[in-house]
């Protein structure tokens, strides 16, 4: 009954780890997954994904989901 959490790029460095897992619970949101998996405040420009799709921070999170947090993308 866990959620796997990933942090990328500068956010990984700020948070201090690239992976985490948090316990699944009822009415879990992306924002709560953040709070349960690191000790800093989520920067305003943070992008969030659940199961590799962009979502906002109020998006529900279910058992087994993969939640990812990262800064604005800079590819190309």
């Amino acid at each position: 009954m866990t959620i796997s959490v990933k942090f990328f790029a500068s956010l990984r460095e700020q948070v201090g780890h690239g992976d985490a897992s948090v316990d699944a619970s009822d009415d879990l949101t992306v924002q709560q997954v953040w709070s349960d998996s690191c000790s800093i405040t989520m920067p305003a420009n943070t992008l969030c994904a659940v199961n590799m799709e962009y979502v906002d921070r109020f998006h529900p999170v279910n058992d087994g989901d993969e939640v990812a947090f990262f800064p604005p993308v800079t590819g190309g």
Binding site: K6, A9, P71, V73, T74, G75, G76
Partner: protein, 144 residues
């Protein structure tokens, strides 16, 4: 319709020729628009020695495929190709190539630019530059 992540140096011109001869029917396309993004040795006033491209494996591929699919839905194109580099790159190395084949030029131009703009705003890649003074993350893209 193909998108690929590469962890080693590639020659974009040769890749495009190879893809074209393997996948595009001769004589059916009249327009081929392409874009190559490559590493500059200078950014925001500083010399850059190397750059490291990080990505989110799985999500990156999903989004590159999604962007290709959207381009095909929006324009009358024959095929498209995206190749994007990850890992450490050096000045002059290619980072990305986007190519679109179509019957007529308007669709090829529009779709090729769409692929690049969408890739830059949605595909989860991040760049970290290595300067003489240390490392820094690239914080935003140049305007489209």
């Amino acid at each position: 319709m193909t998108s690929e992540i590469r962890s080693r140096h590639f020659n974009p011109w040769e890749e495009v020729q190879r893809y074209q001869s393997d996948h595009i029917d001769a004589g059916k396309y009249g327009a081929t628009a392409s874009f190559i993004g490559s590493m500059r040795d200078f950014n925001e006033g500083d010399a850059v020695k190397t750059m490291t491209l990080e990505h989110y494996p799985g999500m990156t591929e999903n989004y590159l495929d999604k962007i290709c699919t959207e381009a095909r839905q929006r324009w009358d194109i024959i095929d498209c190709l995206i190749i994007h580099r990850v890992g450490e790159v050096r000045p002059d190395d290619p980072i990305v190539v986007t190519v679109v084949w179509s019957a007529h030029r308007a669709a090829a131009f529009d779709a090729c630019r769409y692929l690049m703009e969408e890739l830059k705003s949605r595909a989860p890649f991040w760049k970290k530059e290595s300067l003489a003074s240390g490392e820094r993350w690239v914080e935003k893209n140049s305007p489209g």
